[in-house]
């Protein structure tokens, strides 16, 4: 009996100065190789983040400063470009983007979770064919369907309507979401589900009380990826909206002009527009890291 209460034998001993860290944090490798790895990690992170950093820096420049060659790091910062962005009326577009992003993400979860369950825990007939069908819808370039979509939306009188984008973004993200969620479902040990059944839990109860809590990181990761795709989507938005339903990417390109300098104002707009996704990503980072490391993108 006592053996079952022992800590797992494979547990790595704590490093000497780990006391201030939360106990569950992964442990760093020690010594020179550890330092080298840390430096390398930071260097790679910097390479990935530098375009975004440059964008933020440029947002505080005057247009003339943004175009200097060689690029200037020291300059007098100004908030004028941000004022331009807010004067141009960004808020209705943020509202449109929020509706399109959140509603499509909610629909994707509502439809994707049962679909993924049916394709993993309780496989239906011809699961492989269904999965292939889902992913095959992503194989056609969107540019190939834009004309029929545009004409259909025009005939149905739903051009420049935010619900058209909600529908399209749901359709766009659903195949990826089903594939991702399915791989998360496959990670759930069947023993737990069987145990819940033995205890007398019904299928909805098993889904809600057993599966969902275990799946939460995976669902969070899926939702976040769907949100990023929808928030950044430009092609459908620019072609199917005009004044009422235009989302933030469409608003943002309005700052690109062919007859004047525009890098600073575009950077300011891009900085403002990326903030919501950065905030959501930051809030969900723990779930996201767990989700991404447990499932599809492992």
């Amino acid at each position: 009996m006592t053996a079952t209460h022992d800590r797992p034998a494979e547990r790595v001993p704590r490093p000497p100065r780990a006391a201030e860290r939360p106990a569950r944090r992964p442990l760093r490798p020690r010594g020179l190789s550890g330092t080298a790895l840390t430096v390398l990690t930071w260097a790679v992170a910097l390479v990935f983040v530098s375009p975004a950093l440059w964008m933020v820096l440029t947002a505080f420049k005057r247009e003339a400063d943004a175009y200097t060659d060689p690029p200037r790091l020291l300059f007098t910062p100004t908030l004028e470009r941000f004022a331009t962005v807010f004067d141009a009326g960004i808020l209705p577009h943020v509202g449109n983007s929020l509706i399109a992003t959140l509603c499509s993400a909610a629909l994707v979860v509502l439809l994707g979770v049962p679909a993924a369950y049916a394709l993993s825990i309780a496989p239906v007939d011809r699961t492989r064919d269904v999965l292939f069908f889902f992913i095959s819808t992503k194989m056609l370039p969107v540019v190939a369907v834009i004309v029929p979509l545009y004409v259909a939306a025009g005939r149905l009188n739903v051009l420049d309507n935010i619900w058209t984008l909600v529908l399209l973004y749901t359709a766009m993200n659903l195949p990826i979401a089903v594939w991702m969620l399915r791989s998360f479902f496959l990670e759930v040990p069947t023993a737990v589900i069987e145990a819940a059944r033995v205890e007398g839990a019904s299928l909805p109860r098993v889904l809600r009380s057993v599966m969902l809590p275990m799946m939460a990181p995976g669902i969070a990761a899926t939702v976040l990826i769907c949100m990023i795709f929808s928030w950044n989507e430009f092609f459908f938005a620019v072609n199917l909206t005009a004044s009422q339903a235009a989302t933030v990417p469409v608003f943002m390109v309005g700052f690109i002009t062919s007859e004047s300098l525009y890098w600073a104002q575009l950077s300011a707009a891009a900085t403002v527009v990326s903030l919501p996704i950065v905030v959501v990503g930051w809030l969900a980072q723990r779930q996201l890291v767990r989700g991404l490391s447990m499932g599809a993108v492992k």
């Binding site: 797992p8 003339a64 909610a106 979860v109 545009y150 620019v238 005009a242 690109i256 062919s258 004047s260």
Partner: protein
């Protein structure tokens, strides 16, 4: 034990813990409710949706829209502004399929006559004639002609432009050079060789090399025209392999490769503007609209240092292009009278005075009306460039742009619907030649094939 391999919360959490899914679902529901409210709100009875190209002059018009609302209460204007390429694609898609999203669209002299012929846009002549003080005869004649179909104007110009050559007077003086009023391309090439100073970050000249029918093809076409080249002969046979066409392209590619800006194959108008305005080029051949940025101390380091002369020539007397951003009313608009109210407000002589009053004369939309050139205030701020610009616009003849006769009109473009696609394909070949990935000969061989495919569809019919 194996179950613990999977990281995650405990399988049976307490009720107090709210999962991220629940939070997201709540947020989505809130958004749905808000969205429902927004959808139910609806808009006023006379809402105009105006699609425009996001250039500085148009942004001034957006900033002044309160004046329009004051003048025409009850008409609410919503702007959709996009960069040139996106705007053109979107407007073309909407107008050609009768999408009906827009009441007013910004197009150019490239589209106007074609779209008028197809019945996609309204005849504005009756409105022009009926609007007091609008003075349609005040539009520059070359521009008025380029926007007319069967004698009636189908779109009205917001501003007009030609092309000319900007050069740094200070650098010319230092080098002991003098720019003639009507330079030839040979002379310009010599100046470029003389002033090319890569060690100090100054290129001899800046010329567009970026693919796109509205990018590299615009200046290159004017060079082709004045070198005696043409896209088609009168029988619609492609003539891109003629020696004149080839020598023009070779000249352009050699000039920009030898004495042009670094990375020229990726340089469009915007890149040349930033280079020249930051002092990194001695000459720049491009749209006359450049002056509003080059002479603006906010964005330019070379204010007051530039001289402007006519577009360089070789075998023709003049070579500058003619281009104008115009406003038109799609046939599908349900508010045509209100749309004209807006169009006439934005292209009225009074609008020019309004911009001068609010922002200064250097920001008025130039080149569309003779009265703008004649205004004292404009002459005062635009002394250095007003006259070359006016001459360039007046002398541009889109109907006879070449040495030998052609079956199409247009100077910086070929005025047929297929040119958007064909011009872009050819421009990709030219850009590759500028980048050194292919030779001019190979680029033109391929281009000739594209042009022949289009020309074949025109042969045997008069579709000018």
């Amino acid at each position: 034990m194996r179950g613990r391999d999977t990281p995650g919360p405990r399988p049976w959490p307490g009720r107090e813990r709210r999962s991220p899914v629940a939070s997201l679902a709540a947020a989505a529901c809130a958004a749905l409710t808000l969205g429902g409210c927004a959808g139910a709100g609806g808009s006023g009875s006379d809402q105009l949706v105006v699609a425009i190209v996001a250039n500085p002059q148009m942004q001034d018009a957006i900033a002044l829209q309160d004046h329009f609302t004051e003048e025409f209460p009850g008409v609410d204007v919503e702007f959709v502004q996009l960069p040139e390429n996106e705007a053109r694609a979107k407007i073309t898609a909407s107008v050609s399929t009768g999408g009906g999203e827009f009441d007013v669209v910004m197009i150019s002299n490239y589209e106007t006559a074609q779209w008028a012929e197809y019945g996609w846009i309204e005849n504005l002549q009756p409105h022009i004639d009926a609007t007091e003080g609008y003075r349609g005869e005040d539009f520059m004649p070359a521009i008025r002609d380029s926007l007319s179909y069967e004698g009636d104007m189908y779109s009205v110009p917001f501003y007009g432009e030609s092309s000319f050559l900007a050069y740094r007077e200070d650098l010319f003086e230092e080098a002991g050079l003098e720019m003639p009023e009507n330079p030839t391309w040979e002379e310009v090439a010599e100046f470029a060789a003389e002033l090319d100073d890569p060690d100090n970050g100054v290129s001899g000249i800046c010329l567009r090399g970026l693919p796109g029918w509205g990018e590299v093809m615009a200046p290159l076409n004017t060079v082709v025209n004045t070198f005696g080249g043409r896209w088609y002969d009168e029988e619609w046979r492609a003539r891109l392999d003629d020696p004149e066409f080839r020598s023009a392209v070779e000249f352009y590619v050699d000039l920009v490769r030898e004495h042009g800006q670094p990375g020229a194959a990726n340089s469009g108008y915007g890149d040349c503007l930033s280079r020249y305005s930051q002092g990194n080029a001695a000459m720049w051949y491009d749209a006359t609209a450049m002056v509003s940025s080059l002479e603006d101390p906010e964005s330019s380091a070379v204010v007051g240092k530039s001289g402007y002369v006519a577009a360089p020539v070789e075998r023709t007397d003049n070579s500058g292009w003619l281009y104008t951003w115009t406003l038109a009313v799609p046939a599908t608009s349900e508010h045509k009278d209100q749309a004209w109210d807006f169009v006439s407000w934005m292209t009225h002589p009074d609008y020019v005075s309004l911009v001068a009053e609010e922002f200064g004369w250097e920001r008025v939309p130039p080149g569309s009306r003779a009265s703008t050139f004649e205004a004292d205030g404009y002459q005062e701020v635009a002394g250095a460039y007003a006259e070359p610009m006016r001459q360039a616009i007046e002398s541009a003849d889109p109907n006879e742009p070449t040495v030998d006769p052609v079956p199409y009109s247009g100077i910086g473009f070929v005025g047929i619907p297929e040119f958007q696609d064909m011009g872009t394909r050819v421009s990709q070949q030219i850009s590759a030649a500028i980048a050194g990935q292919t030779s001019v000969e190979e680029a033109l061989e391929q281009s000739e094939r594209y042009a022949r495919a289009v020309g074949d569809t025109y042969q045997g019919e008069d579709r000018r």
